[in-house]
């Protein structure tokens, strides 16, 4: 993309977008205009796709309500999308979760991504490695 296009888009793009990816459960606050009135509606579900870059980026949120699957595609930088809230990080192995469309109920669950103590200790200096690796959390 040309520099001038990037500059043009930079002025209109949102700066505060939470860090989320496919598999995460998110709540999107959408501004809805009904005639004169304006209200905010929430759409909660699993993000199954993020695509495009810059101003063109969109994401798809899927949810199941009353047994019917429902997907909405939101432009990331749309003024209609008021806020995005990450409710739960999901552990998934691909970036496009289209396979969820053919699954229902318990099979359509996504495991929660937890900060594993083992992975953490790799990053940190091996100062208290023994403790963290043996005892994952003090509550257990």
């Amino acid at each position: 993309m040309k520099k001038q296009v990037r500059e043009f888009e930079a002025g209109m793009m949102k700066t505060e977008i939470p860090d989320f990816k496919s598999g995460d459960t998110i709540r999107v606050s959408v501004r809805i205009v009904e005639g004169e009135k304006e209200r905010v509606q929430h759409f909660e579900g699993v993000c199954i796709r993020r695509r495009g870059g810059g101003m063109r980026e969109t994401f798809t949120v899927r949810r199941e309500s009353y047994g019917v699957g429902m997907e909405r595609i939101f432009p990331m930088h749309s003024p209609r999308v008021e806020s995005i809230e990450v409710l739960r990080k999901g552990k998934v192995r691909r970036s496009k979760l289209y396979y969820l469309r053919s699954l229902r109920g318990k099979r359509a669950r996504i495991a929660e991504l937890k900060e594993t103590p083992g992975a953490k200790s790799l990053k940190q200096p091996p100062e208290s490695t023994d403790e963290t690796s043996q005892e994952p959390s003090p509550g257990e």
Partner: protein, 210 residues
């Protein structure tokens, strides 16, 4: 017959309108365009402004070319075109037109050279329908029947046939100005314009009808 500018296609992007809908836009580097010459009805038979765009270094300008730039006291440019207008008396040679000549919401026409498609078949070039792909069909993307036989013994003029497509002058009418930025010489138009990136464009205001 109305004022215009020369420009260069930067690329496309998108914006959101007041209702939050996505609108495709084309970014154009428009102007600054120095006026090189004024054509007047009394002298030249028609009224027009000769304007330039895209400065080039003197070392790339040959002597005969340099002569015309020194005459109008303008630094050399790469692209020059005439814009037919109604009244040239308001403008002076050497005056620089910039993107401010267009206002937000105004309608413009954009002329450019369309992207070249090479030797294209009738499906692409004339939007004829294609034949079946399989089931023993041996007719896929052909041009179809050429017409009658002994009568008329010829192919009618205008028959859709393969040939060179694109790379021709072409104008897109009625594009709305979305935004102008004088500092960056940026013109934002709703919709698309002919040509590839960095191709030269002529942007004119819509002639007044009636």
């Amino acid at each position: 017959m109305s004022l215009g500018l020369l420009g260069k296609k930067i690329g496309m992007s998108q914006i959101f309108d007041e209702d939050g809908r996505v609108v495709p836009v084309t970014l154009i580097e428009a102007g600054p365009c120095p006026i090189l010459q004024k054509k007047e009805k009394s002298k030249d038979g028609y009224d027009a402004l000769q304007i330039g765009f895209d400065p080039k270094p003197k070392r790339l300008t040959n002597k005969p070319e340099m002569g015309r730039f020194t005459k109008s006291n303008v630094s050399p440019v790469r692209y020059m075109r005439e814009i037919r207008i109604q009244d040239v008396s308001k403008y002076e040679v050497g005056q620089v037109l910039d993107v401010e000549v267009f206002k937000k919401g105004e309608k413009v026409d954009v002329t450019g050279i369309s992207k070249g498609r090479g030797f294209a078949g009738t499906v692409k070039r004339h939007h004829t329908s294609r034949g079946p792909e399989s089931h023993g069909s041996m007719y896929h993307r052909g041009p179809g029947s050429m017409g009658g036989s002994a009568d008329p013994s010829r192919v009618f003029k205008g028959k859709a046939l393969p040939g060179h497509m694109g790379n021709a002058r072409c104008t897109t009418l009625n594009l709305q100005v979305g935004k102008t930025d004088k500092e960056k010489n940026l013109l934002v138009l709703r919709g698309s314009v002919p040509g590839h990136m960095n191709s030269y464009l002529i942007i004119r205001k819509r002639p007044k009808v009636g």
